[in-house]
């Protein structure tokens, strides 16, 4: 058990004149309430992953747990949420696991009750494992070529430490329920969780409700993050370019996002992938065009465009309750100091030299 000093920090963070209240509870749980005019609200829980901890024998377990836990009470919550037109969604990414609810703004109690029901320890049956492993097997058929190449790039860079959290369906079908229950207990760690509510809400009232509901979640000693070790930075799969970055609030990350978006704007059928992980991550830009491996572009020419696109990309996330709750949640679960506004500040002060360095990193990944 981690002992957290009584750093009950109640800090009102205001930026862009949007009322927003971040609260850190004594158990380490970070809460965020934000008022944004919209006919619906989003309430989300984010559980930070421990970087590099998925192994060849367990990768995909978080994904399988996400599937199982999202079916809390056998679908009773889905029925209730959907009757209001809302949705409960879940996602497993490299940076964490999330459960995200969207509901009309009058239905906050339903959202919070559902999240509280998910965040419980419970017994997992072999039937649930089998059923959801089968669903993941079918989910795999919908994965795009782009997603697969992004996965390849991660394992090229980090080997087993870069394994895709999507997992191996064959491995998942044979997962022991007890192993999954143990992993879920570890994930239910208040110190590595954030709960975010964004919508047309009273932020003080929402924060009070969140405190009452979730103050009892335990803080646990988190597994120590593994230092991600880069194996190889060259020869990434065809049609993609990679830049290694640090924290989401590093200037180099802002530069890589700007350069990546600018490069993508010049490529046909382009895509860009970024997992905002606190320690190490990759920005990956690519194209579905076959046989494209050259970047005959002038970074100087792309600098201003890249800055604009990066700023608008972050801005756009922050204008929608669902997207804002997601971006803030995925950052806050990893560290209560991570804020999208810091990303925006970095983008605004980005220098041409930083941009060119990031561009050259993408270009160099093909050598």
């Amino acid at each position: 058990m981690i002992t957290l000093a009584a750093w009950l920090a109640l800090s009102k963070v205001t930026s862009d004149d949007i009322p927003r209240l971040r609260t850190i509870l004594p158990n380490g749980l970070t809460l965020l309430a934000e008022r944004m005019p919209a006919p619906y609200l989003s309430a989300q829980v984010w559980m930070a992953a421990v970087p590099g901890q998925e192994t060849a024998l367990t990768h995909g377990y978080r994904h399988l747990l996400e599937h199982i836990m999202a079916r809390v009470d056998g679908g009773k919550w889905d029925q209730q949420i959907e009757s209001f037109g809302g949705v409960l969604e879940a996602e497993t990414s490299r940076e964490g696991t999330s459960f995200r609810i969207r509901l009309p703004k009058s239905q906050l109690p339903v959202a919070l009750n559902c999240l509280a029901a998910i965040l419980q320890e419970r017994t997992i049956s072999a039937d649930e494992v089998k059923r959801e492993a089968r669903a993941i097997y079918n989910e795999g058929a919908l994965r795009s070529s782009f997603t697969k190449r992004v996965s390849l790039a991660w394992t090229k860079y980090y080997g087993e430490q870069g394994l895709d959290p999507f997992g191996d369906p064959d491995l998942l079908a044979n997962a022991a329920p007890k192993s999954l229950e143990d992993l879920w207990s570890q994930m239910l760690n208040a110190a590595r969780m954030a709960i975010t509510v964004v919508g047309d809400v009273d932020i003080d009232n929402v924060t009070d409700q969140l405190k009452r509901k979730f103050a009892g979640i335990e803080a646990r000693s988190a597994a120590k993050p593994v230092t991600m070790k880069v194996l190889d930075v060259t020869g990434v799969p065809t049609g993609i370019w990679v830049a290694k970055v640090g924290s989401p609030v590093d200037v180099s990350t802002a530069a890589a996002l700007a350069a990546g978006l600018a490069i993508a704007s010049e490529l046909p059928d382009s895509f860009i992938s970024y997992s905002p992980i606190k320690t190490d991550s990759l920005v990956i830009v690519g194209t579905n065009e076959e046989g494209t491996d050259r970047l005959d572009l002038d970074p100087d020419d792309l600098f201003e465009l890249g800055k604009r696109l990066a700023r608008r990309w972050v801005d756009r996330q922050l204008r929608d309750p669902y997207q804002a709750a997601a971006l803030r949640g995925r950052l806050l679960a990893q560290s209560s100091g991570l804020r999208p506004e810091l990303m925006l500040e970095n983008i605004d002060k980005l220098s041409r030299a930083d941009f060119v360095a990031a561009f050259n990193q993408f270009k160099g990944s093909k050598r």
């Binding site: 679908g75 029925q79 009757s83 037109g85 509901l103 989910e139 058929a141 046909p268 604009r308 696109l309």
Partner: protein
Amino acid sequence: MISLAVLSAIVAVPAPSPAIHELVTSTGSSYHFAVVMSIPPEMDDVRGALQEAVRLLPDGTALHRRRSIADLTSGRGVQAWTTTDQVVIRATLDSNSLTDAVTLAYGLIYRPQLEPRDAAEFSPGWYTPLWQRLTRRAPTANETRDAWHYLVRNGKIHVVFSGPFATGQAQAIWSGLTDSEPPNTARVDRPRPDGFPRFPAVNAAWLDAPPTANPSIAAVTAMLLGQGKSSVLFRVARQELGLSYRQEAFLWPTAGGWQPRVYLTSADPLPIAKLEQLKERMLAEVSIWNESDLQHAKQMLVASISGEGVWSPWMIGPSGGAFNTPEDRTILEAFCRAYDSKFDANAMVALVNAADLDAVQSAAKAWLAHDWQVITANPR
């Protein structure tokens, strides 16, 4: 089938003018457009070339390079896709300039770049164009361009612009462009029957009912059959039979109205026997629907029309169902205009609320009476 000589004669005449529609909004600063182009039936055997043109369309126009499009759309780009019998183009611009939006729409229709580039692996995504099962080979660059120009000359085109502008302004800008950048009148040869080389790496099965221009009952039925995790399809196809990860019932836009469609994808081939078992189970579920189920579906649907909910039966494109956003309202309007209708949210809510259980159950049974169609592509 119309002969080549007749088609060549048709393309020599000037392109017909598209119908321009305006949805003026009082709020927001972005401009949206949606283009819906009906595909003439005689193009059925050149759908591969047409699909290739649609794939290349977002690359740029003679008036806008790719970079400029990325800038105008904040990196979102232009989306273009095909439905059963229509080509759809949409974009949202943050440039605060209606002229940019109108010029981009105009350029995409009349001045597309259509520079050939290698065919990518086809995305195994959710809404795979169904014509692809018929295809054989890659179209040439000329076939691709000819298919596009033929479509522009012979398909009915509806363009909807929305955003905070004065009534008549979009039409005026469009008319100015027609004068300064008149549509290309070069002769267009009819493309040869062709194909597209790639297949989606996914197995899909679908079941269609005839299109309807009055889709309120079909919309409620779609909610109960296949929208959400409480729907019949999720509970039976995914959870009970383990057939699929994604499965939905929705209304698919066609030039004649909204076509009810059940659709599911699987990692494994989908044998008809298994699909018939699914249909049998679905019919059993339909027969026990009650007033509470009906109410549930109506609430979901009304919430989506009002903007509070996320479940929508109006499947407008690759990104999914239509919601009450300016972008989606623009394209919904374009689809409805294509069959001489309008999307009236209040009237739709009234019709949905008036739907009774017998009518919905009957619609579901009639829908499920149709046969399954299956694509098995890139089998493992």
